[in-house]
């Protein structure tokens, strides 16, 4: 109990730094959440920001602009500001209809419409498709005398009104994509936070003189280590609760659903290997700056290859296979699974429970290694 109490004494001594870290990471989470609206693909509902330059200005091209309007937010911008706007993504798609386009539209050698899009955003390709669709219809109508230049855009609009009826399930639709991003980001934040802070506190115990003093005390090495791990567990639990509370503030309606609660349990279990890993690192080195560096490398590196920042479905299978050496992979795989599940029977989400077991397995592995190293260190020091 003495060691356990001392852990908290030291923890509170560092409370300023700890709160600062906590504040910074909450800010990072909020920034990532706020800017993620771009990343979650939506069904036409979110419009693409388009700069449309019509140098031809005929019924056909005006009709094109009108046709795209249901998918695009037109942004008027001066030519000299365009590059910067595209650089900063204020504009996602640029269209230039050249002068004389309509005149040459049906000719053998038509003029081309120039466009620019952001290569990795689907919205751009979607607009591409709509543009092609309009031109194809216009070509067919004009070439077969089904319309003339004056009413072709009207005709196209009429045809385009034949749309698929889309139905969503009755009742309230819950969108779990943002809460998934939240819990995926937590994978990174919890790792870096707990490793750094545990390092900050535990290194105070591992200074040579203090270790010598501890070795000759009544408390056995295992008990001593256990007390430190217990201290880390309690403080880590406080962090997880805090993030759970933040999740509650951000997603009031989602957090108490089955998905939300299972995600919460998921992150709680994920904390186990992070606690033991942070303990292992603190034993390996006494240098606070080295621990802080390792915390950054391990958490950021794991986050990138496990899909905490970039969705797992965009990462190749070989990358994901490598990332399976980190518990973070299993946390994120579980979150992604829960986001698209509504049947929570054991058989349907058995992989969720298997992943929890794997994370616990990681936790045990790290602590066993830590205890072995700790014992060896005592021998070599004495």
């Amino acid at each position: 109990m003495t060691v356990f109490k001392l852990y908290f004494k030291l923890f509170f001594k560092k409370i300023f730094t700890i709160l600062l870290y906590l504040g910074i990471f909450i800010l990072i989470i909020l920034l990532i959440m706020n800017s993620s609206t771009e990343r979650v693909p939506k069904f036409e509902a979110s419009k693409t920001r388009v700069a449309f330059y019509d140098e031809d200005n005929t019924e056909l091209t005006k009709g094109l602009k009108q046709y795209l309007e249901q998918y695009a937010d037109y942004i008027e911008i001066e030519d000299n500001l365009l590059e910067d706007a595209f650089f900063y993504r204020d504009i996602q798609y640029i269209v230039r209809v050249p002068k004389g386009f309509t005149d040459k539209f049906l000719a053998n050698d038509p003029l081309k419409i120039e466009r620019r899009l952001i290569p990795d955003e689907t919205s751009g390709y979607f607009i591409d498709g709509k543009l092609e669709n309009y031109l194809s219809l216009a070509y067919t109508y004009l070439n077969n005398n089904l319309a003339d230049l004056n009413n072709v855009s009207e005709k196209i609009a009429e045809t385009a009104s034949n749309e698929t009826n889309v139905f969503f399930p009755e009742g309230e639709i819950k969108d779990f994509r943002f809460i998934t991003i939240y819990f995926n980001t937590l994978g990174y934040v919890i790792a870096v936070l707990i490793i750094t802070i545990t390092g900050l506190v535990i290194t105070s115990f591992t200074t040579f003189e203090i270790r010598r003093r501890n070795i000759i005390s009544k408390v056995s090495n295992n008990k001593f280590n256990l007390s430190l791990v217990s201290g880390t567990i309690v403080t880590s639990l406080i962090f997880v609760l805090l993030f759970g509370f933040l999740g509650f503030i951000l997603f009031k309606e989602l957090i108490f659903t089955k998905v939300g609660l299972l995600m919460l349990l998921n992150v709680l279990v994920y904390t186990i290997p992070i606690i033991t890993l942070s303990y292992l690192i603190s034993i390996l080195t006494k240098n606070k700056m080295l621990i802080s560096g390792l915390a950054t490398v391990i958490s950021l590196g794991a986050a990138f290859i496990s899909g905490a920042f970039i969705p797992q479905n965009l990462l190749s299978q070989s990358v994901l296979n490598i990332s399976k050496v980190f518990p973070m992979y299993f946390l994120i795989e579980n979150n992604e699974l829960l986001a698209v599940t509504n049947n929570f029977s054991f058989s349907n989400i058995s992989s969720y429970y298997i992943n929890l077991m794997i994370m616990i397995g990681f936790g045990i592995l790290y602590i066993v290694i830590a205890l072995i190293i700790s014992r060896r260190k005592i021998k070599s020091e004495s």
């Binding site: 990343r39 498709g129 009826n165």
Partner: protein, 382 residues
């Protein structure tokens, strides 16, 4: 010279220094490459499972032609876009949709020539699918309206299927059609430059007599303080800059990251290293108190600045640039990222120089504060 070589030796003998200067950047660079090397934003759409409620199957031309079309669409040769499943009735599909074991299903209304698409959530697949359905509905109406004249109908079908190829990439001087994934690597370079702050910070720690025992000894040495600071500064800068350069060479020549004009890139890293070191110096003199706390503040702030420059999610950077642009201009990490990105993106260098100028101003302000603070320090007793 003697002091210089001694100092160099001292710095290089510290484990944490070596880790931060050399190992940390290379490890993160490797993680980034593993992650982004396998990224496949441009990959063709994947095979989509399409469930058609068995009630849909009637003898109408509308339904039969539609199903025929769905079976014919190919992603690549011999690989169909849709795997069509017609073995379930609608009420079974409703249950599946409720459980989210399927993403959606369709019910074709052949008599009224309608397609009803039931989904629980919007996404990329759903958008692609709906676009295909819409096109069928539109073409079907055109064909139906002209079915009385077989010759004309034939021509219309030809025209609708014609690849017009009227859209081309804009001919521009910028390289914006390039890969925006490079931003992550630029943000990494920026973060590593900012972590040069450690060297600036340690320098202050080693010369301010109230910060460490070494500084206490140094302050009573006969060597002139300004000379000492200069030598220490040079030693730290050489190590830090070498570390950052190794990362740069590693990224360019081993990982093959696209970096633009290499000499200008080196200039960014040079100024970035200075900005980082001066920021560390600033943290060293700006706050009183325990060096551990200050180190904590510094690491946390650098992580936040890096996050804001797009390290974890490039959209965070664009979000800040469009909502609070001033934050982008005073954030040194963002200036480094933008300078590098503008080299990659623009053909003219005005934006590059603008960022370089702001970065230099940042360093000058930091250095001025440090110099003013350090010059005033006099101790009667410690």
């Amino acid at each position: 010279m003697h002091i210089f070589t001694t100092r160099l030796k001292v710095l290089l003998k510290t484990k944490a220094n070596i880790f931060w200067a050399f190992i940390f950047p290379l490890l993160l660079g490797t993680f980034f490459q593993i992650s982004f090397g396998g990224l496949s934003y441009d990959s063709p759409p994947q095979v989509i499972d399409l469930y058609v409620a068995s009630e849909s199957l009637d003898d109408s031309l509308f339904t039969n032609e539609f199903l025929k079309l769905l079976e014919e669409i190919e992603i690549t040769e011999n690989e169909n876009l849709f795997i069509i499943n017609i073995s379930f009735k609608e009420d079974q599909l409703i249950n599946k949709l409720d459980d989210k074991t399927i993403e959606g299903y369709i019910l074709i209304d052949g008599n009224n020539e309608k397609i009803n698409y039931h989904i629980y959530q919007n996404g990329i697949n759903q958008t692609i699918v709906k676009s295909i359905f819409d096109q069928y509905l539109q073409y079907y109406q055109i064909i139906k309206a002209n079915s009385s004249d077989p010759v004309k109908l034939n021509q219309i079908l030809n025209d609708l299927n014609l690849q017009l190829n009227l859209i081309i990439d804009e001919q521009i001087n910028t390289y914006s059609a390039g890969n925006s994934m490079v931003i992550y690597f630029y943000a990494l370079i920026a973060m590593v430059c900012m972590y040069s702050a450690l060297w600036g910070f340690n320098l202050i720690k080693d010369i301010q007599a109230d910060q460490s025992d070494l500084a206490f000894r140094v302050s009573v040495a006969p060597t002139k303080k300004s000379k000492l600071i200069l030598i220490y500064l040079l030693a730290a800068f050489i190590i830090s800059f070498s570390g950052n350069m190794i990362l740069l060479l590693y990224l360019k020549f081993i990982l093959g990251v696209d970096l633009g004009n290499f000499l200008l890139v080196i200039l960014v890293v040079l100024l970035g290293t200075i900005a980082g070191m001066s920021f560390g110096g600033f943290i060293g003199v700006a706050f009183k108190g325990n060096p551990d706390v200050k180190e904590g503040i510094m690491s946390g702030v650098i992580l936040l600045l890096s996050a804001m420059s797009g390290l974890m999610n490039q959209y965070v950077k664009f979000f800040i640039n469009s909502k609070v642009p001033i934050l982008g201009y005073i954030n040194p990490a963002n200036l480094i990222t933008d300078a590098l990105y503008s080299l990659y993106y623009y053909s003219d260098l005005s934006k590059y120089y603008f960022n370089i100028l702001l970065l230099s101003i940042f360093s000058v302000i930091m250095i001025t504060i440090v110099v003013l603070k350090v010059r005033r320090e006099k101790y009667d007793s410690i």
